[in-house]
Symmetry: C2
Subunit: 333 residues, 2 copies
């Protein structure tokens, strides 16, 4: 909904980077997680995200759905690193109008997803706020030492892959905003669901540990996030528009002109798919993983020398993309 | 400032406890931290706190001071567990009026305290909010396995001790609210500083690892917090009012009638001292630690069978205390 000022977010990144004191655990504040030492042979992948009513969700969204979205946006970060969720710490700033029914629904939403994804809430804080509902979550996952998939380790010549379909949530947001236009109801409902309830690709992330060179989750728009990945790797990317996977509902949304069409699909947020790079020789393994998970995985381009991301049309011509997606400090949405 | 509804916080505690799934790392959401496995021989103590403008600090407080308070309230939790701070993850919900000067001051405040306390920011998230400035921090400290000081391990017959002086911050809040009355300026300034900038007792906590039976930090008021400690230990406490340590400025505040007098001192928040219990035989060791740190440590009562906290006057008669202090979910302020 709200798009923060990009300059400000650049400033924050510059101001906060020295706070890492050069510790390798921080990954330069340029990845989805931090990695600290765990018990023998393991690392803890840690990510923290905040969501605010009226910015990241609608104030009248069901409480259980808000809870599950809070959890899942963090789990998506863990998924993209190949980490398995274990623990969460939760900070809640509750406005005065939060009542006992709402709280019970919120806790039930957390409970069902904690059970589904195998993690436990182990701490947190609840405070009152005179402002909108504001929630923070620190998620902790385990990953074998040295096996976490980073943003910074793409290599020249890698293929670029993405799971599932892109743009559904961005079109779903248009639906949520009452801008579904002539889109059929079943498509509209499906896109809305993709917007409201992310599906963290945890099984995929784990299977990619020994296959991918680099990975991140797509939370702030495919092309913007790919830009972060290649910047972290010191490389460039070329993506073919025609290869970007759209769902049937996404194609229908495109056909009736929702939002800014394909620009919305490639730069809108909240996909929560995994974007990764892998050597060309890994294609067969990726195909097998796709079949095993019954999850589409699409090759959308390749990693090259240079910097930045270019989008290519059917004739290989460079296209201009105006919407760059929005960014969070540390890119850690 | 604002005092959340106690019933609601009880409800939240009841609703959230099942989310621990019985994991021992959560300590039943009844301690200052969670404890997860670290590298060989170590545990990670983790605590998360949120602070909101207009609730936990004044919106026009200097940005550097807000940053340092955010960090220090979390470090106080680590201190009370005997943990040494190592890392932090930071979530910032910034309103639109936060500008570059403010951000630079905020980062500088974090930087100076990170250097002072030896920790690094390793991750986080920054988002926009239409509401007040709202900040969350997850602090991570290391402690030798099994050495963390818990709330639940007090024993019958233990002495109850507290570091420093109690009530300064609660009186300092009265000063901040313009209610200093006839209090001398130097006392008022000193109390205000105690309110605005907590001094986490990290060196003390570390030295208490092999001395104390149970410990927690005093953040929500001495008697209320002691109530949490004895509840977690399944025991009771008797405290002598005359033994509760007051600073010279605190005594002056009491003399001129700030707030609700001694009730403000024993039930106001933001002391950030360490409250701990130890066997009577530890008195000499505690005295030596006090001398080593040049920090007053006062014996204020003892642990008994039963439940609850009683406050005793000079003749050993039970006194009534109306203000119970405010509480946070998981008591983890």
């Amino acid at each position: 909904m709200g798009t923060p000022d990009l300059d400000e977010f650049d400033l924050i990144a510059r101001l906060f980077r020295p706070l890492t004191a050069g510790r390798p655990e921080a990954l330069g504040l340029a990845d989805d997680v931090a990695l600290i030492d765990g018990p023998s042979g393991e690392q803890w992948a840690m990510t923290a995200d905040a969501i605010v009513a009226g910015v990241h969700f609608f104030p009248d969204d069901p409480a259980g759905l808000i809870a599950r979205k809070l959890l899942r946006v963090n789990l998506s970060d863990l998924a993209a690193k190949g980490a398995e969720p274990r623990f969460a710490l939760l900070t809640c700033c509750f406005p005065a109008d939060v009542g006992s029914d709402w709280l019970a629904e919120f806790a039930a939403g957390l409970q069902s997803d904690c059970a589904l994804f195998g993690l436990a809430v182990i701490g947190g804080d609840t405070v009152a706020t005179p402002g909108p509902l504001c929630l923070g979550l620190t998620a902790i996952g385990s990953v074998p030492r040295g096996k976490a998939l980073l943003r910074s380790t793409a290599r020249t010549g890698d293929d670029i892959w993405v799971s599932g379909s892109i743009g559904d949530a961005a079109f779903g947001l248009q639906v949520a905003l009452g801008k579904a236009g002539s889109l059929a109801d079943d498509h509209a409902d499906w896109l809305l669901d993709r917007y409201r309830l992310p599906q963290p690709r945890l099984r995929l992330g784990k299977l990619l540990r020994d296959v991918a060179h680099a990975a991140m989750d797509v939370s702030d728009g495919l092309l913007g996030d790919l830009g972060h990945l290649v910047a972290a790797s010191g490389l460039a990317a070329a993506v073919e528009l025609a290869r970007i996977p759209l769902s049937p509902a996404g194609q229908a949304a495109l056909a009736v002109g929702l939002g800014h069409g394909w620009r919305t699909a490639v730069s809108g947020g909240d996909d929560y798919e995994i974007l990764f790079t892998a050597p060309p020789g890994a294609a067969a393994a990726i195909s097998a993983i796709s079949a095993q998970l019954k999850l589409k995985i699409s090759r959308i381009g390749c990693i090259t020398e240079g910097m930045g991301v270019v989008l290519l049309d059917g004739e290989g011509r460079e296209m201009s993309v105006e919407h760059a997606g929005y960014r969070h400090f540390a890119g850690s949405a």
